[in-house]
């Protein structure tokens, strides 16, 4: 379980995170949604103890990140937003390396590595050096590295961005499976249909503040919209952004970015415009 209370982090005048609180219980998927620069990554980094919050607390499975960052990291599996791997190590060696930090070794570690390779379908390239891996292959290595120690809490920063349809499906079913097994999953995404389908709870973060928190259904009811995207756009900046984005709020249920017309359009300045679109 991850409990975030009143987190604050400013960079000079930029209020990256400005009093964020939410709770991600075990056995549930919590989505962190927000436009670019809303403070999602900064929040996740504070949860992992990478950034010291100026105010507020993070408690993971009873460990306070300020007092015991090492225990917090031990109970977290983190998929960071940068998809880098070591080009001269194989995926298996990656897993061995990261597993070593969690006290895993010997047969226990090797068994776990085999399991991860099997689950993520990495057989084909598990013993090939990562030089030249495709985005999807790298993403699997990164996901495997986050899961190698079978952490209770899993944090993922945009886990499906840049993946093909198959890989997206696999990742999503992975997220569902993890939470069904009782893990606590917290992830960020820019894909509204993904959030609507996967998340038990959604926290919408706008300019460093939680604008709304609840189940997808609750968010739609609160805003009086019939799609999560419309609800999100309204919370994020209203109709102005919506008009610029070219989406009209009619049906909106089929808003996977691959299907969305705006996917290949250049980035917009408007906060709302970026809402249901793919990554930068």
């Amino acid at each position: 379980m991850i409990e975030v209370r009143d987190l604050v982090k400013h960079y000079g005048d930029v209020r990256a995170v400005d009093g964020v609180s939410f709770v991600c219980p075990n056995g549930q998927v919590t989505g962190l949604l927000g436009p670019n620069g809303a403070g999602k990554t900064t929040t996740l980094r504070m949860i992992c103890g990478l950034i010291r919050p100026m105010r507020g607390t993070v408690v993971v499975d009873g460990h306070d990140v300020k007092k015991d960052p090492s225990s917090v990291r031990r109970s977290l599996g983190v998929q960071t937003d940068s998809a880098g791997v070591y080009p001269r190590l194989t995926p298996r060696e990656h897993l061995r390396y990261y597993g070593g930090f969690y006290g895993l070794s010997g047969n226990e570690l090797e068994r776990r590595i085999d399991e991860i390779i099997e689950i993520l379908g990495m057989d084909e390239f598990a013993d090939r050096r990562a030089q030249g891996f495709s985005r999807g292959q790298r993403q699997k290595v990164i996901l495997g590295r986050a899961l190698v120690h079978n952490p209770n809490n899993i944090i993922m920063d945009e886990p499906t961005s840049g993946l093909d349809v198959m890989a997206v499906r696999e990742t999503r079913s992975m997220i569902r499976t993890l939470s069904d097994k009782g893990h606590c999953v917290l992830f960020t995404t820019h894909y509204m249909d993904e959030a609507a389908r996967l998340c038990d709870k959604i926290a919408i973060i706008i300019r460093g503040r939680i604008a709304a928190f609840g189940s997808p259904q609750q968010l739609m009811e609160e805003t009086g919209r019939n799609s999560l995207e419309d609800a999100f756009v309204q919370l994020a900046g209203g109709e102005e952004g919506l008009l610029v984005s070219g989406h009209s709020g009619n049906d909106g249920s089929n808003d996977h970015p691959a299907a969305a017309s705006g996917q290949d359009q250049p980035e917009r300045e408007s906060v709302g415009a970026d809402a249901g679109m793919g990554r930068r």
């Binding site: 010291r52 940068s82 880098g84 070591y86 001269r88 060696e93 070593g100």
Partner: protein, 395 residues
Amino acid sequence: MWQDVANIWRKEMVTTVRDRKGMTQAILVPLIIAVFYASFTPLLNKAMFERSQKPLVIPAVGVEYADPKLLDTMHEFGITLEEYGGDLEHAVERGDKESGLVFEPGFSENLADEQPAQVRLITNSTAGGVFGGAFSDSRLRLAVSTFNQKVAAERVVAYGVDPSALLPVVLETEDVATPEQEGALWASFYLPILVAVVLAQSGLFVAIDVTAGEKERGTLDALLVTPASDWAILLGKMGAVFVTGIIPLFLSLTAFWVVSNLMPSVAAVEQGALPLFVLWGSLLIGIPMALVMSVAQMIASVRARTFRDAQSAASPLVFAMMIPGFIAAFAPPKALWPCFIPLYGPFAALSRMTQAGHLQWDSIGLATLGSLVAAAVLTAVAARLFDRERLLYSS
């Protein structure tokens, strides 16, 4: 903690060894430098020696006026005179000839009359480039002065005087240099420079790879979210830099020693073999110095975002290493205390040992102590910089 250090160290070593290009460069460059330094002096000596042995033909005008006994003495020194027909002075000036001798008429008569007999030597000091050509000025002078002594002795004997009257002062030289000292002489100049050059560059590519490289590849965050402590990460990475720093040092010193000992026999020049203690001494002072250098390289590259940034940030380190090395090479210290000065001390110790001709544990000990103190201070600085949050911001 130590498990994490070992884990990180192992992984950094594996990735370093697998970097074929980086490894080749890290090993080949020091080897080439070592072989060059080890062979340069002996080969130069050999060339000089061979030149001094080569028959010398000097063009001359008026050879017919020269005294046959003088020509004989010159012959003994391998000098032959060759009659020259044209304007000798002009030829030397133009550089067609390196030198020439001019005998005036009456030379032999003057000699017989015990009058000063003059012969003119025409040289061009720029002939043959910086290292001079075939002409050996000193050989000619030696031949003439030997002839003079011979003639002078004959003359005083004719007057019934003991020839030793011509030698009021006899300077006897006794060279007490041990074979070890003789053998280490050139090493005392080249080794500090070799150690400096090798250490200044050898661990650097690893230091950059494990710091700025993690940022460039986007692998830093993943490492920082593990439970490994900042210290464990720093020490594991530093350990890899250190080891990859001393391997080229070991290889290049060994190459220097081997090549030095192969060389003298080729050169046929009297020069003692390079004693083994020089190799041990260089390694013993080099290892703690490599530690200092690896921490310094980490500090220089830890804040850099890219390889390029790190490279320019680390470039002053090369000078920090080379300048003390050169100072020790050109002005070998006598006293013990300078051995304690970080960066300079190990070179000072090396210089003292090569002069003494044996290992000196006080020099080595003091140099090691100085290096360890410097490494400890620098590690504290590195630890301050190596803070998760700061690392993240510089990425």
